[in-house]
C-alpha cells in the first residue's frame, strides 16, 4: 500500500508528469528559438490545433466512459461537406443547424449501437468510419465542395474571424473546453461518465443508467465533431471529401497523451487540452528548429509511447514489464 500513496517529487512527477514534460519541452524550445514563444506563433499553433482539439474534447468523454471513437475523422469530413453544400442551397443560417442535426443523428446512431445494444465500440466505430466515409462520398458524388461566393459570406467568421485579436477557432476551442470541463468535473452527468467507465457493472448496481450515459457521450462527441467541421468549413470555404481522414487516430493520440486511460474511468478535459497543445507545439517547434515537417510524427510516436510507459511504470513500480 505504501507505493500507492505517493508523496514527494516522485509522486508529483507520476501524477503531473505530462504537465512537467510540457513545461520542460516549452522551455527547451523557447531557449533554442525565442520566436517559439512569440505571441503570434503561440496563437498560430493553437489556432491550427483547434480543430483537432475540439474533436479531442468530445472523444475524451467517450474514452473516460470506457469506449473508443474511431469515427470522428470521417464524421468531421461529413459535417464539413454537408455544411458547405447546404450553405449555397439554404444559406448559412439554416445550413449550420441542419448540419449539426445530421451529425448529431450519426452520433446518436453510434450511441444506440454501443450504449443500448452494447456492441463493441472499437468495431462499431470502425464500421462507422467506413460507413460515414461512404455516406459523405455518396452525398457529394465524390466531388470537392466549394462555396460559390467566398468573399461575400459571413460564414467565414468561425474559421477566419477574431475577437479582440484572438482568432475565433481559439475562442471556440477554449470556450468549449471550459464548458465541457465544468460538465465533466462538476455535474452529476460527469460523475456518471467516470463511474460507467471506471466499472460499468458497479455503476449499473448503483442504479446508473449505463446505456443512456454511454449514449450521451457519443452525442457529445458528435456535437464536438460538428463544431470542428464548422470551423474547418468556415476556414477553407471549400473542402475535399477526405478532409478529416486519419484524424481519428491523431485525436486519440492527443487524448491518450493527456493521460486518459483506454480502459475508461480516468482523464480530464484539462489534460486532453495539454495533450492537444503538446502535439501542436511539437510540430511547430520542430519546424522552427528546421526539421522536416514529418519528423513531428516520429517525435509524436516516441512521446506517446514514453508518456504511457512512464505512467504504467509508476503504477507498477518498475520500468520494465513483467511479461516473461
Amino acid at each position: 500500500m505504501a507505493e500507492l500513496t505517493k508523496k514527494g517529487l516522485g509522486g508529483f512527477l507520476a501524477r503531473q508528469g505530462i504537465l512537467v514534460a510540457f513545461a520542460v519541452f516549452m522551455i527547451a524550445f523557447a531557449v533554442a528559438n525565442p520566436r517559439f514563444i512569440d505571441i503570434d506563433n503561440v496563437f498560430g499553433v493553437i489556432r491550427s490545433s483547434a480543430i483537432l482539439g475540439v474533436m479531442a474534447l468530445g472523444v475524451t468523454f467517450v474514452v473516460i466512459g470506457g469506449n473508443l471513437d474511431l469515427s470522428v475523422g470521417s464524421m468531421m469530413s461529413f459535417s464539413t461537406i454537408v455544411v458547405l453544400d447546404l450553405h449555397d442551397k439554404i444559406g448559412p443560417t439554416l445550413a449550420i443547424p441542419s448540419m449539426f442535426a445530421m451529425t448529431l443523428a450519426l452520433g446518436a446512431f453510434i450511441g444506440i449501437l454501443v450504449g443500448y445494444l452494447k456492441l463493441n465500440s472499437l468495431i462499431v466505430t470502425l464500421g462507422m468510419l467506413s460507413a460515414i466515409h461512404g455516406l459523405t462520398l455518396t452525398y457529394s458524388g465524390g466531388k470537392n465542395m466549394d462555396i460559390a461566393d467566398k468573399s461575400g459570406t459571413w460564414f467565414s467568421v468561425f474559421g477566419q474571424g477574431s475577437v479582440a485579436g484572438v482568432p475565433m477557432p481559439i475562442l471556440i476551442f477554449a470556450g468549449l473546453a471550459i464548458l465541457l470541463s465544468i460538465i465533466l468535473s462538476r455535474t452529476p452527468f460527469g460523475r456518471k461518465v467516470y463511474a460507467v467507465g471506471g466499472n460499468g457493472l458497479a455503476a449499473t448496481f448503483s442504479g446508473i443508467p449505463r446505456a443512456r450515459v454511454v449514449f450521451m457521450t457519443y452525442l457529445m462527441s458528435s456535437f464536438c465533431v460538428a463544431t470542428a467541421g464548422l470551423i474547418q468549413a468556415s476556414r477553407s470555404l471549400g473542402s475535399q471529401n477526405t478532409v478529416g481522414q486519419g484524424m481519428e487516430l491523431e485525436v486519440l493520440a492527443a487524448v491518450i497523451l493527456g493521460g486518459a486511460s483506454l480502459l475508461g474511468g480516468a482523464g480530464t478535459i484539462f489534460k486532453t487540452v495539454i495533450g492537444v497543445l503538446i502535439l501542436g507545439f511539437i510540430q511547430n517547434g520542430l519546424l522552427l528548429l528546421g526539421l522536416a515537417f514529418y519528423a513531428q510524427y516520429v517525435v509524436t510516436w516516441i512521446i506517446i509511447i514514453l508518456a504511457v510507459w512512464l505512467d504504467i511504470a509508476a503504477k507498477r513500480g518498475g520500468l520494465w514489464s513483467r511479461i516473461a
Binding site: 500513496t5 455535474t187 463511474a195 466499472n199 458497479a202 449499473t204
Partner: protein, 503 residues
C-alpha cells in the same frame, strides 16, 4: 510415518510485499502418501505460501526441500519439473483449446519444424484420462465441459509428470456431491501412489473426512500442526482465529413491524422457481444454500436486474414491478452485491464519490454536484460505520476489504432504504471486521430496516438471522425460525434432502 523422507519440507519461508509481511517464517512438512490440510482465515497467507511452492513467487528468505534436497523454484514449470504441481482454485484453462492441449499446455510434444506431435499428445492424454476415469476424451474442447470435468482437466495436468506433491486449492468450491466423491477418489489414488497432497479448504467436514494432518496459518505465521484424528473443529478454529468462534445465535430481539416485502411464486427461467417469502420491518431473513442455489439471482431480480418470468413482488402490501435498479432504488430497495470489487465499488474512484454514487443526481446545487452535501453524507456514515480512511479523497482501491465493504453498506444506508439486501457481506474480510459487520446488520434491523442476508457461511446465517430460508437448486426447501433451526436440518435442506416438515 516419521521415519520416511518428507516429500516436501519448507523451512523459515518469508515473503514480503511492499508494506506487508505476507509470510513470516513459515515451516511445514508434507510426507509422501499423506493428505495434509492447510487452513487459515482469508489473508492468513495460504495462497502466498502455495504460490511460493508452485514457483509463482520467489521467497525473500527460507528454503524449500524436495525429498530433503534444497531446491529453488524459479517458475511454475520449474516447480512442476521437480514434481510439485499446483491445481488452481480459479480454473486456469484455455477454453477454446482441446483437453489434450490444456493438459500439456506449455509442454506440447514436438516433431520437426516445431510441429505438434498430435499422435503422442492424444495417446498420452488418453492414458492419463483413463486413470481418472472420466467420460470425455483428449480431443474434446474444454469450453464444452462442465465445471467439474474442467476441474478434472486441471487435475490431469498434475499427472503429466511423476508428482511428488500436489497442491489442491479449494478444489470443491464449485463441485456437486457426486463430483466430490470422484475427486476424493482421485486424491486417495494419489495418496496410495505415495504422493504428498496439500489440501486447502475452508470446509471442515471435508478436512476431517480426507486429511491426515492439519497445519494452520494465521497472519502469515505458522500456528501449528494437528493430527486430524486427534483433534476437533473447535481446536482448529481456535488455532485459526486465535480465540473460540462465537457460534451462538443472536439473542437480541426487538419488536417487528409490518411486512415490508413479500414475494409470491417468483420465478426466473431456470435460475429459480416458485419462490415465496416475506420480510418484516426489523427482521433479518437469512438466505442459506450452496453456490448456484439461486439466492443471488433472487436478489438481482428484486433489484430490477433480472426480469422475472412469473410471480409477484409486493412492497408494503402494494404489488410493484421493478424494471431497473433505478426503479428498485426509487421504491426503497437497496442491494449490497456479492462481488464487492466487481459490482459494489469503482476502485479508481475516491471514497466519497463511491458512497454518494446512487444519489449523485439529487445532491445538486443548481446544475452542479454539491460538494458540501456529499462530504456531509460521507462524514455521517464514516462516523456511523467507523470507516477507517485517511480522508474522503482516498481511492477506494487502497482500503482494506472490511472498510471497502463498509463503504458499500454506507452507500446503501445513505439511500434510507425500506428493504436492505446484503449478499455475502463478509466474504474476504478479516475476522475482526466480520463481527463488526454482523453487529451492524443486527443494529440496522433494530432500527426498523427489513434486512435480507444471503450467505454461504452457516455461522454467519445462524448468527444474524431471525428467520432462515434454505434453498436448493433454485427452490425454497424450507423456512426455519431462529429457535427451531439446527445445523443438521439446515444442511439437509440445502442438500436437497426433504425433511418430514417440508415447507
Amino acid at each position: 510415518m516419521t521415519d520416511q523422507t518428507p516429500a516436501l519440507r519448507l523451512e523459515g519461508i518469508v515473503k514480503t510485499f511492499p508494506g506487508v509481511r505476507a509470510l513470516d517464517g513459515v515451516s511445514f512438512t508434507v510426507m509422501p502418501g499423506e493428505v495434509h490440510a492447510l487452513m487459515g482465515e482469508n489473508g492468513a497467507g495460504k495462497s502466498t505460501l502455495m504460490k511460493v511452492l508452485g514457483g509463482i513467487l520467489t521467497p525473500n528468505e527460507g528454503q524449500i526441500f524436495i525429498e530433503e534436497q534444497p531446491t529453488i523454484m524459479s517458475s511454475p514449470m520449474n516447480a512442476k519439473a521437480k514434481g510439485v504441481v499446483f491445481i488452481h482454485q480459479e480454473l486456469s484453462l484455455a477454453d477454446e483449446l482441446s483437453v489434450a492441449e490444456n493438459i500439456f499446455l506449455g509442454e506440447l510434444p514436438k516433431k520437426s519444424f516445431g510441429r505438434v506431435d498430435w499422435q503422442r499428445l492424444y495417446d498420452e492424454t488418453d492414458a492419463i484420462l483413463k486413470t481418472l476415469n472420466v467420460g470425455f476424451d483428449a480431443r474434446t474442447r474444454v469450453g464444452d465441459l462442465s465445471i467439474a470435468n474442467q476441474q478434472m482437466v486441471e487435475i490431469a495436468r498434475a499427472l503429466t509428470v511423476e508428482p511428488r506433491a500436489v497442491i489442491f486449492d479449494e478444489p470443491t468450491a464449485s463441485l456437486t456431491d457426486a463430483e466430490k466423491v470422484v475427486l476424493f477418489e482421485v486424491i486417495a489414488d494419489l495418496q496410495s501412489r505415495g504422493v504428498g497432497v496439500i489440501y486447502i479448504s475452508h470446509r471442515m467436514e471435508e478436512i476431517f473426512k480426507i486429511t491426515d494432518r492439519i497445519s494452520v496459518l494465521r497472519d502469515g505465521q505458522y500456528r501449528g500442526t494437528l493430527n486430524t484424528a486427534e483433534t476437533n473443529e473447535e481446536e482448529v478454529t481456535q488455532l485459526m482465529i486465535g480465540r473460540t468462534l462465537d457460534l451462538s445465535r443472536n439473542e437480541s430481539t426487538h419488536e417487528m413491524g409490518e411486512v415490508a416485502l413479500e414475494v409470491r411464486g417468483l420465478s426466473c427461467g431456470d435460475l429459480f422457481q416458485d419462490v415465496s417469502f416475506s420480510v418484516r420491518r426489523g427482521e433479518v431473513v437469512g438466505f442459506y444454500g450452496l453456490v448456484g442455489a439461486g439466492r443471488t439471482e433472487i436478489a438481482e431480480t428484486l433489484f430490477g436486474l433480472r426480469e422475472p418470468s412469473a410471480g409477484t413482488i409486493h412492497l408494503a402490501g402494494e404489488e410493484v414491478s421493478i424494471h431497473s435498479p433505478a426503479d428498485a432504488i426509487k421504491r426503497g430497495i437497496s442491494l449490497v452485491p456479492e462481488d464487492r470489487k466487481g459490482q459494489g465499488l469503482i476502485l479508481g474512484m475516491n471514497c466519497r464519490d463511491n458512497m454518494t454514487l446512487p444519489q449523485v443526481s439529487d445532491l445538486t446545487a443548481g446544475p452542479f454536484v454539491s460538494d458540501g452535501a456529499e462530504v456531509a453524507i460521507f462524514d455521517q456514515y464514516r462516523d456511523k460505520l467507523d470507516i477507517r480512511t485517511p480522508g474522503w479523497r482516498q481511492m477506494v482501491g487502497n482500503l482494506s476489504g472490511g472498510n471497502q465493504q463498509k463503504i458499500v453498506i454506507g452507500k446503501w444506508l445513505s439511500m434510507r432504504p425500506e428493504v436492505l439486501i446484503v449478499d455475502e457481506p463478509t466474504r474476504g474480510i478479516d475476522v475482526g471486521s466480520k463481527s463488526e459487520i454482523h453487529n451492524l446488520i443486527r443494529e440496522l434491523a433494530a432500527q426498523g430496516y427489513a434486512v435480507i442476508v444471503i450467505s454461504s457461511e452457516m455461522p454467519e446465517v445462524l448468527h444474524v438471522s431471525d428467520r432462515i430460508v434454505a434453498m436448493f437448486s433454485g427452490r425454497v426447501m424450507r423456512e426455519f425460525t431462529a429457535e427451531e433451526v439446527t445445523e443438521d436440518s439446515l444442511i439437509q435442506a440445502i442438500s436437497g434432502i426433504a425433511s418430514d416438515k417440508v415447507a
